[in-house]
Amino acid sequence: MSKRLFVVFSVLMVVGMLLTACGPKAAAFECTDAVGCLDLAPDEPVHLAYMLTISGATAFLGEDSKGAIEIAMDDRGGQILGHDIVLTGEDSGCNAEGGQTAATKVASDPTIVGVIGTNCSSAATAAIDTISDAGLVMISSSNTAPALTIEGETWKPGYYRVCHTDLFQGAVAAEFAYNELGARTTATIHDGSPYADQLQAVYAKRFVELGGEVTFAGAINVGDTDMRTVLTTVAADGPDVLYFPIFEPEGDFIVAQSSEIAGLENTTLMGADGLLADSFPENAGPNSVGMYLSGPYVVGDAYEAFLAKWDAKFGGVPPSGFHAFAYDGTNIILDAVEAVAVVDEDGTLHIGRQAMRDYMSNLSGYTGLTGALDCTDKDFGEIGTSHGDCATGGALGIFELGQAELDGNWPPPAVYTPGQ
């Protein structure tokens, strides 16, 4: 090779290297997220998943939440950061098996950004490990069992909830029974589910603290149809209030059969949000007139606007009381995506999974349909420290069922709203 040729090549090489160095720098996004990143090409949608109970006895809970998720997506025009939002879902049912199955399917899909669900604490208890290990965030609209967000109990990183826990609901129900109804004795019935068992325990504890007496704490099985035996036991002590925070149809049977039992004439019946469904008064029959239900109580202009959107989209009113929580939960996840996503010039999104969790765990002062939300850690004293509990307990009320509800009016009027 001649010397001249070597010089020419050398010059060309140097020029080439200079040109490369000065040219537009390729954006090499480097993921530094502790859990991992989700990269979405410009044409790929932002994928949300729901895990709700959309079949069987508790389908009203799932329909309620699912409709609210869709309305939250519509409110953003179905788009976020220039990407379409898509929603897919699994039926998690209202039991541990369903929760486990749904979680396994959701966790195996790497395109999912976040999960809205579940509807039932029992399903969440089974799903929480799988969802957390997959690096996902999951926010629930209606899981009220306290243990789900208590450190050292069921809680796992990535789990959040918008609804109030039973720590609030049980206490509100007990205060209503003791202070407003003037009850001094009470009995409780649960169905062995984490939801009902913990709720009646909190209720009973608060009722005793106020100075009342618990005459009987009973239990039935999911699937039981004959409540006469347990009601007869309740009637033996003739308590002022019977609190049964369970679901349909067992709650229907308790209400319907209560009039056949001698000794329950002066006992006021009270259920919880598990029975707060428009089908309940009709199924439970005439005995439901005069009974009470504790549950979420949401008011305000924003909520009226939401109900108008629901009526326009689905017709009528939402079938249960948790839709506002599902709406807020969906917005929190979408807000988190907006806040943490790194957007390339061509529109590619990089979403850090730990960053999502950090954003949601530090969310405070958020105003949603359900009032002020604060997802930061909270100290519940001897019960423990809670993580990801967004509710502040303001959105709770006691509802009274009357003849109008039996004839189809829904929702029932609130008679006691401590947070308002």
């Binding site: 006895a57 239990a219 039935i220 039981d224 149809t225 007869t232 033996a236 001698a262 089908s279 199924n283």
Partner: protein, 355 residues
């Protein structure tokens, strides 16, 4: 004498005997404590017993379907609980439209008869179809095979009806003529609904008994149950007889669905047949599977035991939350009775002399 006893002595028998004695002692102690505590009034016990009898008569009607089929084919029709659901679920819509039109208030007897007719026909047709599609092609197969297809048939029926009528809970209307009516006897008030259900169920069971014992078709059923091959040689159409057996069992289950709606209107949905199916099967085994009076007595017995057992026995033993243990208690009773009488209360078999 003593030597003979020691020669025959076996530890298993010994422990079984000790277990039987212990069970009897525990039950007696429980009853003694409960009655002694005087927590419940006699009126409350009577309420429980009659509710148990009404529930038991519904179990008995379903149990007859299990027992008839077992007696003739030696197979367990596990789809039978869902056949019961099919009748109850279909009739609930007719019942609600009759309540809305006021027919139920003006002609309660005709309305209930119409409901029973509808539910019984739906269940009857469904049971015959299940037999034709799922069991008849497997007539010669090993006994485990139709058992598995029965489970498949059960799921198929459940989810077909979920597809047809939806997953929501339905409720039967309350019959105005029976609402809040009590029969006052000896100072006890018993709801009319329970008496109507009990009497109607007993009438149906009596009719079935006479049908089996006194009619030609009943005779054919007994013959097929005794020996299919010989019955065929005698000119009996075995397949037709089996079909009639399924039809009768289905019709009784459908009627039970309506009685259940009268007795306990809520909770009609696609999965409602599962637990009553299991309970009715238990009742059939309790009375001696394949034995018709056995299924009746077993059903009533199970219903009453379930109703009073937790409060009468378990509570006396100081066990908390006894009502959650009701199913466990019912099945414990089943185990105990089968330890004492492995063949059930009345013994097995539809026919008297089956080898």
């Amino acid at each position: 004498m003593l030597k003979q006893y020691f020669d025959r002595f076996s530890w298993v028998d010994f422990f079984l005997r000790v277990f039987q004695l212990a069970a009897v002692v525990v039950i007696i102690v429980g009853i003694f404590n409960s009655i002694g505590a005087a927590k419940y009034t006699s009126g409350q016990w009577v309420t429980l017993v009659f509710a148990g009898l009404a529930q038991g008569s519904i179990y008995a009607l379903i149990a007859l379907g299990y027992t008839l089929v077992y007696g003739i084919l030696l197979m367990i029709n596990f789809a039978h609980g869902d056949v019961y659901m099919a009748g109850a679920f279909t009739a609930v819509f007719l019942a609600n439209s009759m309540a809305a039109s006021g027919f139920l208030a003006t002609h309660p007897v005709w309305a209930v008869l119409l409901l029973i007719l509808l539910a019984a026909s739906v269940s009857m047709v469904l049971n015959v179809v299940v037999e034709r599609v799922a069991y008849r092609p497997l007539r010669g197969a090993p006994r485990l095979v139709p058992l598995i297809t029965a489970i498949g048939a059960s799921f198929t029926i459940e989810y077909t009806f979920r597809g047809l009528y939806g997953a929501e809970f339905q409720s039967y209307p309350i019959i105005p003529a029976l609402d809040g009516q009590y029969w006052n006897v000896a100072g006890f008030a018993i709801p009319y609904t329970q008496i109507v259900v009990l009497v109607a169920a007993i009438l149906l069971m009596a009719a079935l008994f006479f049908f089996i014992e006194r009619t030609k078709i009943g005779k054919a059923m007994r013959a097929v149950s005794e020996d299919k091959e010989v019955a065929r040689l005698m000119g009996i159409d075995v397949d037709k007889t089996i079909m009639i057996t399924f039809a009768i069992g289905g019709a009784l289950a459908g009627a039970a669905g309506v009685f259940n709606g009268i007795f306990r209107p809520q909770g009609v949905f696609f999965f409602m047949g599962f637990i009553p199916g299991i309970k009715a099967f238990t009742a059939a085994v309790l009375g001696g599977i394949g034995n018709i009076p056995g299924a009746m007595v077993g059903g009533l017995f199970l219903g009453v035991f379930e109703a009073i057992g937790p409060n009468l026995i378990l509570e006396g033993l100081g066990i908390p939350a006894v009502n959650q243990l009701r199913d466990a208690f019912a099945f414990t009773i089943l185990v105990l009775i089968l330890i004492f009488r492995p063949q059930g209360i009345f013994g097995e078999r539809l026919s008297e002399t089956k080898a």
